[in-house]
């Protein structure tokens, strides 16, 4: 009986840990099954050092064709599910083929890893980093254990960050001029601006500022574009008159934003837009501005 039970169970437990687990910052990551787990955070050029613990179950020995650990940076397009595109792939052999009798730990180290892209979890695309331990076996499937981690990179603030000022409108209905303090914001930034009403001929009920994420995947004719509204922030209640100016102050920190990604590995781009939405008594009209 024991043998039978053992046949269906993996013959060993594999776990991956980092040396600096205690000190390293943990960030939440949403898994496929909807659960959120905490995973360590790295940035490019960091050393990723840790150990892999393999513990055969019930003290039984088992054979293997070698143990390796890979560091993978993958882009996964959902319309092309199952196909991962690895833009980064590093391998460390941990053990030569042989037998395992008892628990054994393997140290590993990837030093100054180039991780040019940030982790991203979008609607149609996912970019992730994993450490993957593979214990090769004959005849039967390999034992694989993955550990996700997140990469965030910092870029210096742009030297040129002009304010945006634009006059837009619907002819003879609504003319506004808006002004934002900057054209580029960091993730914890505050959007500060002002909206001037130059002409108001429609009955406005309120005005909202929307943050939209535009995610385009694929290339050429196979481009998919998905737009998602991340935040709706009411800026004004009631109908203004001509000459009125409405202040804008939106703290970005409560929202789950990522930097703008331009054409990551020719696979996808992510852009954010600030959209001004006017709601009048009948329908909606939109006016937009990117960032």
């Amino acid at each position: 009986m024991d043998f039978l039970v053992g046949a269906f169970k993996p013959p060993c437990n594999v776990s991956i840990s980092f040396v600096d687990t205690k000190t390293r910052k943990q960030v939440p990551l949403k898994k496929d099954n909807g659960q959120t787990i905490m995973v360590p955070l790295f940035q490019s050029q960091e050393n990723i050092i840790g150990e892999v613990l393999i513990e055969p179950t019930q003290g039984k020995k088992f054979e293997h064709n070698g143990v390796k650990i890979e560091l993978l940076g993958q882009i996964e397009l959902y319309f092309d599910r199952g196909n991962f595109y690895d833009f980064t792939s590093l391998v460390r052999e941990l053990d030569v083929p042989g037998e395992l009798f008892e628990r054994k730990t393997y140290q590993f180290e990837f030093s100054t890893v180039e991780m040019p892209h940030e982790s991203y979890n979008g609607i149609n695309v996912r970019l992730r980093y994993i450490l993957k331990v593979t214990i090769g076996r004959n005849y039967i499937s390999n034992i694989v254990e993955c550990q996700d981690f997140v990469v965030r990179n910092f870029t210096p603030p742009p030297s040129i960050n002009n304010s945006i000022k634009m006059e837009v409108g619907i002819e003879d209905c609504l003319h506004i001029e808006f002004e934002y303090g900057k054209s580029k914001y960091h993730l914890k930034d505050v959007i500060i601006g002002k909206i001037y009403f130059l002409l108001v001929r429609i009955k406005i009920k309120n005005m909202e500022l929307e943050i939209r994420r535009r995610e385009s995947t694929g290339s050429g004719p196979n481009t998919y574009v998905e737009t998602e509204t991340l935040a709706k922030f009411e800026l004004m209640d009631g109908a203004p008159v001509r000459g009125e100016s409405i202040p804008v102050r939106l703290f970005l920190s409560p929202y789950e934003l990522t930097p703008t990604y331009r054409n990551i590995n020719n696979k996808f781009s992510v852009k954010y837009y600030l959209n001004l939405v006017f709601v009048d008594e009948e329908d909606r009209r939109c006016l937009g501005a990117g960032s």
Partner: protein
């Protein structure tokens, strides 16, 4: 349909309150467990109830007040959080994450209040940020309430002078700036309200707007409470900014209310020093604004201020308050061409009150005001509007009340010119007011020209003015006004006979134009006024300097004669007769026999020719007898003629009883107690006997006509006369005559044909008791009475 609306509203309010309470409950729970995140979440949800557009301001206010209470608790929590070490700056950011703007701003204001208190940032920066962020609410009702909340929570945190929030960076200027900005924005929202929504609900919206006005006005109140707003700042910053807003909003309701507010909330002293600024705004207001009330309020306040203490009066002079106000009113009236008369008059009335309080010594100012008023009224004809006339009455009454002296008012040359614009009725009312003022203050009008001026004012009472319809006048009212005018004549008095005579002539000239209806009221008063003068002269030596023009009683009597004659046109013979007799008596006292005789003659002629009513005749004859009895100026011949006539008249009266009584009264004409040469016992007896005969005849007539002899009253009366003359020592009246008369009466009383008359019995009994009493009294009288047996 409308009731449905109300019901629906009620329903919405209930729903709103329920939602609010529910979220407040969760909020409290979060507060109790120090759960900031939940507290913010539920407070934002709670405040979301205020986002409704369905409630009228009144109902919305209820919801607001409930939220307000809850926010107080939240504020306490924030304070504690801050004390526990939670960064207030983080809190300030955290509440701004709320997605909906209205809850976000309420929370922001609440935290902002704690932020200022913490002094982690200069108060002015926080205030500025708050007032700026509130721009996000452009919905009038919600915006007004939000800003009112801001005003409320910031009130005690303004960096005022002496406040703990005042510092290097925070000055009172920032406080003022903040309130002014909030005020401006609120006013804009308030004004905008009327343009939103369908036109048919305009009236309803106007009503709702007036319900909200105090929210706006509150800001001005806050401004006035700021210690640091001294005169200079008020003059340089506050007032110009507020007025700019008032003028530019171009809204009738707002302009009226706010002007009123400015006047009410700021100190009088400030108004006085900024009069020209304040006043210059007035002509710029919308034409429909009720500017007169505004200005009146201002002048009323300034008047009261002036009245409050004499020390402030120089300030008024210094700023030339009068001329400024006067100019302003002129400009306002010019700017509002179609201003109704009432507006014009109200303005001038207020200005006049102001002048009287501030410059009681400057009568020329008062006259100037009246003059200006006349100018504006000219060309409008008589004023029809009853409210306007009421205002004119108030305008004209003001100087009377102030000076309590018509003489001062008479110096106002424009006074009568204003009165001309009153309709006849009101003119009379005004005249009565003037007279009452004179009466109340017992003012004496001492010169002829003043009398002229006064009569010009009250001419509505003196004569019929054009367009006066007799039939419309109420009899009682007429009597009352004429009586009061008659009283007025008595108030015209000067100790100097010359001047007094002039006054009398003037009065006479005027009252003779009054027409038959008025003369019976006015002439007696004038006559007695003359007689008063006569009596005054009587004591003095006649014409001491031989001055031809000087007033003599003779001259006056001539005038009197002519005056009474005027009554004949009425005609009022009885009254004239009385007046003639009065004059005769006065002439008697002046020893002017021919004059007295003339008066009597006039009286007799009247009696013969005019008085035909028998009752009137009886009264008249008794008056004649009474007067004649007191005359001592007549010589024998004249007296005989007059007494003879009087006796003759007496005997010709219609009723026997009247005849009898008149005849025994005549007996007195022959017996004047203190004049030896007028004691004619024989003729006295003759009269009494004649009276007895008439009494007898009366009884017989009664017997023939009705079968009983009637009462014995006449006999008892005659008995009393007998006793009177007996006591006075008339030798013709003897004990036996008296005895005979007593017996006669006793017999008559016992006779079957006599009607029992308890009054006559009692009269007789008391007469007999009198005789008994005299008998027992002792002395000469008793001796005289002794022989009479009762």
């Amino acid at each position: 349909m409308i009731s449905d609306g109300v019901e629906d509203e009620e329903k919405w309010l209930t729903a709103g309150i329920a939602g609010l309470q529910q979220n407040a409950f969760y909020m409290h729970r979060a507060l109790d467990s120090n759960n900031l995140r939940d507290a913010l979440k539920y407070s934002a949800q709670m405040l979301s109830e205020l986002r409704t557009s369905r409630l009228s301001p009144h109902k919305y206010y209820e919801l607001y007040m409930r939220s307000f209470d809850e926010l107080r608790k939240l504020e306490m929590f924030f304070k504690e959080e801050a004390r526990r070490g939670c960064s207030i700056i983080d809190l300030y950011e955290l509440v701004q994450h709320a997605g909906n703007i209205l809850p976000r701003l309420y929370l922001l204001c609440t935290v902002g209040s704690v932020y200022i208190k913490s002094k982690e940032a200069p108060a002015k920066d926080v205030l500025k940020d708050l007032v700026e962020m509130c721009r996000g609410i452009q919905h009038p009702v919600r915006g007004l309430f939000l800003r009112s909340y801001l005003s409320q929570v910031s009130r005690d945190k303004l960096p005022d002078i002496g406040s703990e929030y005042e510092g290097d960076a925070d000055t009172v200027i920032d406080a003022v700036e903040f309130v002014l900005q909030n005020f401006t924005e609120m006013n804009k929202l308030w004004v905008r309200m009327q343009h939103q929504g369908p036109a048919r609900e305009k009236e309803k919206r106007e009503k709702e707007r007036s319900e909200l006005r105090d929210l706006v006005g509150k800001n001005l109140h806050v401004l006035s409470q700021i210690e640091g707003v001294d005169l200079d700042m008020y003059k340089d910053t506050v007032l110009p900014r507020v007025l700019e807003q008032v003028v530019n909003c171009k809204d009738e309701l707002a302009q009226h209310y706010l002007m009123d507010c400015i006047i009410q909330v700021f100190p009088d002293e400030y108004h006085l020093q900024t009069l020209d600024v304040l006043l210059s705004a007035c002509p710029q207001l919308q034409p429909s604004v009720d500017i007169k009330t505004v200005l009146s309020q201002l002048m009323e306040r300034l008047s009261n201020y002036a009245a409050s203490s004499a020390e402030v009066l120089p300030e008024f002079l210094q700023v030339e308050a009068f001329s400024k106000l006067s100019n302003a009113i002129g400009k306002v009236i010019e700017a509002h061409v179609d201003m109704p008369t009432i507006g014009v008059v109200t303005l001038y009335s207020s200005l006049l009150t102001f002048t009287l309080h501030v410059h009681p010594d400057r009568l020329d100012y008062a006259d100037l005001v009246l003059g200006a008023c006349v100018k504006k009224l000219s060309g409008k004809g008589k004023i029809e509007d009853s409210k306007a006339t009421k205002q004119i009455v108030a305008l004209l009454s003001a100087p009377l009340e102030k000076y309590n002296d018509i003489v001062t008012a008479l110096k106002l040359s424009n006074y009568p010119r204003v009165m001309e614009y009153l309709d006849t009725e009101t003119n009379k009312v005004m005249a009565t007011v003037i007279i009452q003022s004179i009466m109340k203050n017992k003012t004496c009008i001492e010169t002829e020209d003043k009398v002229e001026a006064l009569f010009e004012l009250v001419k509505g009472l003196i004569k019929d003015l054009e367009g006066n319809h007799q039939d419309e006048i109420d009899e009682d009212d007429f009597k009352e006004e004429q009586n009061s005018f008659a009283r007025l004549i008595q108030m015209l008095y000067n100790e100097d006979p010359e001047e007094m005579f002039k006054i009398i002539c003037t009065v006479r000239k005027h009252i003779l134009t009054g027409g038959p209806k008025r003369l019976p009221f006015t002439i007696p008063s004038l006559i007695f006024s003359c007689l008063k003068l006569v009596r005054q002269l009587q004591g003095q030596d006649e014409n001491p300097f031989g001055n031809e023009t000087s007033t003599t009683p003779k001259k006056i009597f001539q005038l009197l004669n002519q005056t009474i004659e005027a009554l004949s046109s009425v005609p009022a013979p009885e009254l004239s007769l009385r007046l003639y007799l009065q004059c005769a008596e006065a002439a008697n006292d002046c020893d002017l026999e021919p004059v007295a005789y003339e008066f009597f003659t006039q009286a007799y002629i009247l009696y013969e020719e005019e008085i035909s009513d028998s009752k009137a005749q009886v009264t008249a004859i008794h008056l004649i007898i009474g007067t004649l009895q007191r005359m001592h100026v007549f010589g024998v011949e004249n007296r005989d003629t007059l007494t003879h006539k009087a006796t003759g008249y007496s005997a010709k009266l219609l009723k026997k009883s009247d005849q009898c009584r008149a005849v025994y009264a005549c007996s007195h004409l022959f017996w004047v107690d203190d004049q030896e040469n007028m004691k004619d016992g024989e003729r006295v007896l003759l009269c009494l006997k004649r009276a007895l005969r008439i009494a007898n005849a009366a009884q017989q007539m009664a017997n023939a006509a009705r079968g009983n002899t009637g009462s014995v009253t006449l006999f008892v009366e005659i008995l009393n006369k007998y006793l009177y003359f007996f006591e006075k020592g008339n030798p013709q009246i003897t004990v036996s005559t008296i005895q005979g008369l007593i017996e006669l009466i006793t017999t008559e009383m016992q006779s079957d044909t006599t009607t029992p008359d308890p009054a006559a019995d009692a009269f007789f009994a008391s007469t007999l008791r009198y005789i008994q009493f005299q008998k027992q009294k002792g002395g000469a009288i008793s001796e005289k009475y002794e022989p009479i047996k009762v």
